[in-house]
Each structure stands twice: as C-alpha cells, then as structure tokens.
Symmetry: C2
Subunit: 199 residues, 2 copies
Amino acid sequence: MADYIESLQVLCEQFARLQGVGRKSALRMAFSVLEFTDEEAERFAQAILDAKRKIHPCPVCQNLTDQELCHVCRDETRDRSVICVVEDVRVLMAIEKVREYRGMYHVLHGAISPVSGITPDKIRIAELLERLKDDSVREVIIATDPDIEGEATAMYIAKLLKPLGIRVSRLAYGVPVGGDLEYADEVTLSRALDGRREF
Amino acid sequence: MADYIESLQVLCEQFARLQGVGRKSALRMAFSVLEFTDEEAERFAQAILDAKRKIHPCPVCQNLTDQELCHVCRDETRDRSVICVVEDVRVLMAIEKVREYRGMYHVLHGAISPVSGITPDKIRIAELLERLKDDSVREVIIATDPDIEGEATAMYIAKLLKPLGIRVSRLAYGVPVGGDLEYADEVTLSRALDGRREF
C-alpha cells in the first residue's frame, strides 16, 4: 500500500484500526491528513487526545459524558421514574433523536454472550440494580437489540427485576414502518402477528 | 449527533473533514477512538503529527516521502531515461502495484483546470521541465486522468515537450479488461475503436 513511506504506512494502520475502515479508506484518509495545514493536523491529534481523556461513563446511567453527569441525568425536566435499558450509547442516541421518550436511561455497555465470554458481571447490570434500590423507579423498559444476545440480556434482567415489583417492559417487535412486507423475515412476521393490535 | 458531548462532537467534526467520511462514519470512528486504550489514542494522535511533519514531496519527482529522496528516486536499478507523469501519488501507487513499469515518475499534484483556477503554474510542470534539461530523458509517458482536466494537462505538457525532441506518449485508451462491452460508454468505445490493434 504505502509501505515505502513509513510514517504514511503507520498512519494508515491507525486509521484501519477504526471500526468499519478498510485499507483503501484508511489510505484515502491518511492522504487527507497530508493535505491538512500543520494547525489542522494538530487540532485533529488534540481532538483524539481530548475525547479520550475527557469522556467517561456517567456515574448514574453509564451514558458517555465529558461532564460530571451526562446530559440526560443533568436534565431536571426528565421523568426519573422510568429507565430505558440499552446496550450502548448509539442506541441511546437513536432513541433521543425521536424526541419522544422523556425518561432516563441505563447503558449496559454490551449484552450477555456466553460464547464470547460476556457474562452478566461484565456489563453494567449491578449498576442498574443499585439504581432501583430507592423505590423511585416504577418502570424499566428493556431496549436491548432484537438478536440472541439482546434477548438473553433482556430475559436475564427481567428475571432479576420481577421480585422487585417494578414494571418491566420490552420494545415492541413487529414489521418496520415503511418496510416491504414481502421482504420481512419469518421471525419478524411471526412476532408482528403475535403482537397484533385491534383497531 | 453527539452534540451534547462536546469533545465527542469535536472529534466527529475532525473525522468528517477527511475525504469521503460522512457524519455517520465520523461518529462510528469517534466511538472507536473511545474504545482505544490511552496508549492507543496517543499512538494515533502521534501518527497524525508524525505523518504531517515527516512527509514532504521528493525534491526530484514530487512524489511523497519521509526521507531525502522518494523510494523510486532512491532505487538505482530504475531506468532514469523514462518519466511517467501522474496527477497524484495515488496514481503512482496504482502503477507501482502492477510491478511492470521500471522508469521514474513525476507527480504534478493536480491537473490544469481553468474553471477551478488551477493554471499550469499551480502544478509541478516547471519542475518537470527542469528535469528534462540535461538530455538524459528519452521518453515522457503522460498518465494524467482520462477526464477533461487530465486531457488538457496532457495536451499542454505534450506541446511544451515537442520542441525538446523527447518522445511523448500517452496511456492507451480502450475498454477496461474484464469489463462488459454492453456497458462501455460511447467515448470509451470510440477511443477503443480508434486505437484498435491488428492481431
């Protein structure tokens, strides 16, 4: 690739470490950097160091933040009696984009996956239980991914919360809005039938 | 996007400045950085600064290098009597990958484009003429892109070199190998017909 220009090769390798970046894209990005001014390159390098240094999990909900509490936990207008449990921050961001949900979150930072060695203690379930101790939460909405790991995690948490007398719900399964029924997979269709609602 | 976590937002913007990186990819990359260890993040930041600081155009051929001369100009086994003129380093890399061409290069760092204000003096044509002064070069192969700017640049250089008595050639136009003739555009087909060769 660019293996005869060592510092370009090193930069390519760094870009290629990023999720979803292949060798060709990495090379293109490295060339972009060479077209930066010195100040721009310094700003880029500094942004990497700053993000890494400043961003940490919110001590309450494990969402990412560069302040003491995350923007959701800081927001006093939000409904503290509902917690939506998500696997990662990107899901939280997706739900926030809808601007409909006004409760709190809990970010697990993963899903239970015995195959990959991710046992319940490896994700932030203990922190969730801790939050439920003071009886102020009346509902936990489990919004883990609709895949095997997400399902297993949802089941596990639901089982833990049952004895606490908290309402536990799960995001509705069904056919995606705007999708073409012809192409919906069987499991989704079956779930959509199960969950059908009367007009 | 991530506008409530300022340092994440800044990092996203930096990634989005790279060629071919959209907002979604930038966010995905920024999250990747957060998963780096501190040492990994530092190595990434350093790679950016190093590449920017160390890489410069080769004083002979304008190819990029982090040493005194580029890897082609350093290679004493190469044929110094042929120069292949390319628009940018990526084309040089593509030709090098074929491992067939054993001559030298000259990187213009652009193509003539009056519309974008890129006049002949904005690209490295003067440096090319300088190299031809000592009569050691017998052929210049013009491998600028097969688009309007590349064509204009090729014509311009060919006209300049004619009086010097140097052989000037242009990469062959034709249908790409492995392509489907049905989908070849008219101009390419017409050029392929013009350039047809007897068996």
